[in-house]
Assembly symmetry: C3
Homo-oligomer: 384 residues x 3
């Protein structure tokens, strides 16, 4: 643990008030500090040592979409650091802007150290909303209305899902031994069939937007028409060049799986569908939404062979690639008739997916620690 | 208080990871340690001394039925020991099993020390569900996914209601001076009339399943047809023999009250009705449920004289038996036109019923302490 | 801060178990202690010093009306002092009395230090309900059922809104330098137009019921027919005489604003309408409620010129009166087409209204501290 502390201290950190919204807006040092801090907090927790860096204060969560896992991860992280969770229940459909957001953000923040937001239902909305809240609390802090500048944490937006992708990165670092060891490793971020529709794009976008920075060989695979937000795809491509990794897109799951060290088969809705859905949701067009769902499911049904089966796994490196998933997975014959992954493959990697998930509360805690402590390094010394 | 600590230390405890699901699966030592611990925590609280044995951690509550009192008792207990409550709101009708339960149980437990579950709506469901959750967190702990093994506490299931029956036992121990003094005392666990229907069987089952172990003279009284789960009745009978107490069933409230030291008049639905209701609930058969309710209420109405009145109380020992109730009671002329107990009887024993209830948060805290602390005895020393 | 502590110690306090329900039932010393304590807690929070006077315990909130701001203020205050919040969600329409209130109040209070209640929907209900809860926990404490006497805090009732009016007083004290400096200052508590209806009377009543005690020149302005509860108006008049201030009522917003040092333009429903509404709500008369709303909005629409505009502000002292509002305000062209205040006036005073709101969590914390600590002065010493 001392090693982690020394390493964090050697990094260039300007975290206070620097919200954690998109991984690609964070420096490599900030990302590494987050990983190191998460590992430190996790190991201390395993040893039964307290991580209470706040004596009091609120961690406000704003969920604009249902969630059980992220709620508990957020609550766990807050509690571990000494903060109390206060939920703000917003009508899911109510998308407030401007004056209302500014005022509410300040009204809930007089004793708040962290605000976590999940808003992934509308393309073009979630990230914008978070930036509005961020600007509001920044202004409130500068004007002397707020004694502390609450740090914002993106618990999933329309563009990125940093608490997920960072947990996945923590898992990979631990699995392969170091960040350096990820260089040249091939990951297949692949679409997979699901009997549901409208799943957000933020998980695959988060993965390609983060792992291309570590010299990995990132292959994005999906059926024709299931593309992601173009800007994020471009970004991934650029980052891969900078990190001397690579980034490919293919319409073949087999091609992606071939020789892969890691596979991440997961369903999502096509970008075009999400755009149309956003328009219909805003218009409250129920008939249109039903029509869209029907046509989308019909289209999905053409790709039921995009399933992570034992045969597909045989294509991977030595037949032993690491299977990853953000959970819950659509497991064929278990949670649905036909889904993203066969029961035997899932079962083989069940413990791995649980471990992958186990990083999330600590990643969130690390983000809270680094963005909301005025002097994280001295707080670190007090911990140790 | 020192006496309680010394006594707890003399008992044979293997609590860690031993969930508190059914009192009859706990050893006499485990039950006594729970009582002694509850008394200790209660006395310390009365004196304004802190009971903080955890520095942080979550206490997760899963309520599959409405509850105010148990919610507050659970929240109070968690807070007193230093845990933060996190509610998991499940759709009441959604009965999940298998993979989903295993996964969810682990996902909510990364920093969780205690899980409290209330699931009493379906016969054959509540206890099974708790065992599934228990197996899931046990496996997660053994596989290294969870750093701690969260202790499970049954906050009422289809079979038992241990937090209630143990609070009642604590009340009786205090009222009569010791557990030994309960030997030979007669308790009338009696059905009583209520204008509602479908009340769970777990309270009377919990009472006969626990008090028959203390050499008491336990009489179960109910109109014909209002029997309890047969296995629990058999168990009560067997336990009474072992403890040199007695166990009788009668269809006369008067007979049960005659010479009783304690009376516990409380409405419940007949076992057969609960079975039929479970089937209809699972089928979502609203018309069937309405029909069942109607016929059940009609049948109930034949037994409006099963009311705990002043006249009935005169039949008890010296006319001064202790009246008990888990609250809220259906009080004639107060909370309903005609109910379980007359206003004058209830009023005479109002303070006693409040005291009876006052043990519950401390009983729950004792269960949390003993099942979730790796080293409860050394934690005890730190408290003292 | 030492000054505040010394001053609090010089005051005559008998707070323990003295609930904070109506400001006019509190002595001047109790009010001043609350202000001084709020300032102390706020300054300590600004400096990053902990205010943890409780080691554990619950702060129960009972909201019988929706609320975001007050919820967060209550949660912040509780957390700052070391208490955990437990919400009791009551059906909004369910108005319980008698036995049920007595029992529930005790059942939720075994480890509870503070109970905050918001109940402002029905005239004649909110304050009565709070008094019932207060009597119940007082009896429970005296009977030995409760180890602590939870302090009650009125988070808004049908008559008063003390957490708001005391925050406003704290703002005014800070803005003008001292309570003494408020003598002779003119405040215009004025009705203002809003496109909604049925807003409670408790804010204007709270303001005239509090500020008339500080020698201020209080002018209540509203269109004919928009009067407040007569008893509170009489009380304001009497208090103004005692404090050598003054109290006037006018039907002209301009007259009220003329030469005012402070303006507080805010919509409310006429007393008569609130009485009729209460009757209809109790009867569940939906048609009647719709009719009442329609006729009330039609009447409101006659007074759209009751808006706080730049022109109106020019009438005030030097054109620079302090604008106050409890938030959220109905801002013309921002949150509604036409409302209580013009966008330019609101924007000029936006920071001031946020500061005004920033006192509320600390005012609530001060009320908690003083009503729920057996020995607040020695707790104060421990803080310092």
């Amino acid at each position: 643990m001392k090693e982690n502390i020394d390493k964090i201290k050697s990094l260039n950190l300007e975290n206070y008030g620097h919200d954690f919204l998109l991984t690609w807006n964070k420096t490599p040092d900030e990302l590494e500090a987050t990983l190191l801090m998460a590992e430190l907090l996790k190991e201390r927790h395993r040893q039964g040592k307290p991580n209470l860096v706040f004596d009091s204060g609120l961690a406000v969560s704003i969920f604009r979409d249902n969630s059980t896992r992220t709620r508990f991860s957020f609550a766990s992280a807050a509690n571990a650091l000494g903060l109390a969770v206060s939920d703000m229940d917003e009508e899911k459909s109510q998308v407030s802007h401007g004056e209302t957001v500014r005022e509410t953000a300040n009204m809930i923040s007089f004793m708040t150290r962290v605000i976590g937001i999940r808003d992934d239902m509308y393309l073009g909305e979630g990230h914008s909303y978070m930036k509005e809240v961020s600007a509001a609390v920044q202004a409130g802090f500068e004007e002397g209305v707020l004694h502390n500048r609450p740090g914002l944490i993106n618990l999933q937006c329309d563009i990125d899902h940093p608490t997920q992708s960072m947990s996945d990165l923590a898992m990979l670092k631990n699995y392969f031994g170091s960040l350096d060891n990820l260089k040249g490793k091939k990951i297949a971020m692949s679409w997979a069939y699901s009997p549901s529709y409208g799943k957000p794009l933020s998980v695959p976008q988060g993965i390609i937007g983060l792992l291309t920075r570590y010299g990995m060989d990132v292959t994005l695979a999906h059926p024709e028409g299931y593309s992601l937000i173009p800007e994020v795809v471009k970004l991934a491509d650029k980052q891969a060049q900078v990190s001397s990794g690579s980034f490919q897109i293919t319409n073949s799951m087999d091609e992606a799986f071939s020789g892969a060290d890691i596979v991440y088969p997961k369903s999502w809705a096509p970008f075009d569908v999400m755009e149309e859905r956003t328009t219909l949701l805003k218009q409250g067009d129920q008939a249109g939404l039903k029509g869209l769902e029907k046509s989308c499911l019909t289209n999905n049904a053409k790709f039921t062979d995009w399933e992570c089966t034992e045969d597909k796994m045989k294509l991977t490196k030595g037949g032993e690639a690491l299977y990853m998933h953000c959970l819950p997975a659509d497991i064929t014959g278990v949670s649905c008739e036909q889904g993203e992954v066969s029961a035997s493959v899932f079962d083989k990697y069940r413990r791995d997916t649980y471990l992958e998930a186990s990083y999330k509360p600590f990643i969130i805690a690390a983000m809270m620690f680094l963005t909301s402590q005025k002097h994280p390094l001295s707080a670190l010394d007090k911990l140790a």
